[in-house]
């Protein structure tokens, strides 16, 4: 069998590149990790992802791909061993893709903006973030399995995994609360189960370094957002 060469270009604190690492590790796929400094992008990254110039980038047997949700689907379609990340049923798959977008385009965007801004901009972003979190909470409540993917971690868990670990850091850095455990019991319980999973637990960036990093980002972006 031809050797399978898998490389992943990522950034230590990026929830986008880490969700791809989670997928590869859950499936037991060997890969070479290449850390990119996104503030000083290598010529290699610019060559491999000229359109967006971003991480993560996956290179599999010379084939170059980008965009984390797309990489999750590629990984699932290429390495068909358990855990199967996407459901088999087309309708269930459409729901997973739909909710992944809601979490990314609404909750993540507004939370990050709320973290970086002040005054009215912050209030508006916060309000929108909480609204998005409420919709996700209802979805979490409807799901009565261990994970959103069922008994094992799936695509939607990986897509939303940042909520369990990055969001609390952003809340602290931004002196705000979006997912109050008493108001969001289902999300909070799912977050705990997600972080307890051995593969996830062992593949998280150190919290203290994250706090320093995002405090710095908040200072820099606060003037621009």
């Amino acid at each position: 069998m031809a050797s399978q060469e898998v490389k992943l270009l990522g950034f230590w604190v990026s929830p986008f590149s880490i969700r791809v690492e989670w997928a590869l590790k859950l499936k037991g796929v060997d890969y070479e990790y290449i850390e990119e400094d996104i503030f000083n992008k290598s010529s290699r990254l610019l060559e491999l992802n000229p359109v967006h110039k971003k991480v993560p980038v996956l290179v599999h047997d010379g084939k170059v791909m980008a965009e984390s949700f797309i990489l999750l689907e590629y990984i699932d379609e290429t390495w068909k061993q358990d855990p199967l990340l996407l459901p088999q049923d087309p309708y269930e798959r459409s729901k997973a893709r739909f909710w992944a977008r809601v979490a990314e385009e609404k909750l993540l965007e507004y939370s990050f903006t709320a973290m970086c801004t002040h005054g009215e901009k912050k209030e508006q972003a916060l309000k929108s973030a909480v609204e998005a979190a409420e919709k996700i909470e209802e979805e979490m409540k409807r799901n009565n399995k261990k994970f959103l993917g069922g008994e094992s971690i799936g695509y939607l868990d990986l897509a939303m995994g940042w909520i369990a670990y990055w969001l609390p850091v952003w809340e602290e850095v931004g002196s705000m609360q979006i997912v109050d455990p008493s108001q969001f019991p289902a999300t909070t319980a799912w977050s705990k189960r997600f972080l307890d999973h051995p593969v996830i637990k062992q593949n998280l960036p150190p919290r203290d370094k994250m706090l320093v990093y995002f405090h710095e980002r908040r200072k820099i972006l606060g003037g621009l957002v």
Partner: protein
Amino acid sequence: MAEEVLLFGVWGSPFSRRVEMALKLKGIQYKYFEEELTNKSPTLLKYNPIHKKIPVLVHNGKPIAESQVILEYIDETWKDCPIFPKDPYERANARFWAKFIDEKCLPGIFNACWGEEKQHQNAVKEACEHLKHLENEIGEKKYFGGEAIGFVDIVANIIGYWLGLFEEASGTKLLTREEFPKLSNWADVFVSSCGIKENLPLARDKLIAYFRSRFGTGSTDASK
């Protein structure tokens, strides 16, 4: 069990037209409901409570929203005339370009056509950079999908048809044949293709008037 396929859309929307293109290419019978954006039906709000937007496809009572998500669902459910390639890498590539069109090209085009006047030059430059990526991607292919219309072609309906309307409504020209010969050629082939040409809103004047009333007459003085 009798199959019931409903589509909630808006006649002038490229997003709902994408879904119709896919349904028609695959020969799927469906019932169409025209929505008014300023007076959304309770049915639409019931089927898409999160975004309250069209298009929404309802298949045997199950609602699916977001045009690209709907297209994937359609291809996975009705296997005739596939719009996605089989190979995982080619599928990743198709998804990449579709995402690029909706998340980068489209906002860039809007910005160039209807953004702030003082940012106009930069906005046009950026929009053209995006189009250049598509020019390189289409290359010598007949369609983005190769020999047959695929997922990316359907998503690129905005570039193939609506872009011309935006240009006329706003007075900002982006897709010139000199700068983008391959993409312009693809657009010509696309709008005259079977399964596509019958499904484009042809009342151009009505659409142009609508875009002008909704977004303004454009960010250049040349729009008069």
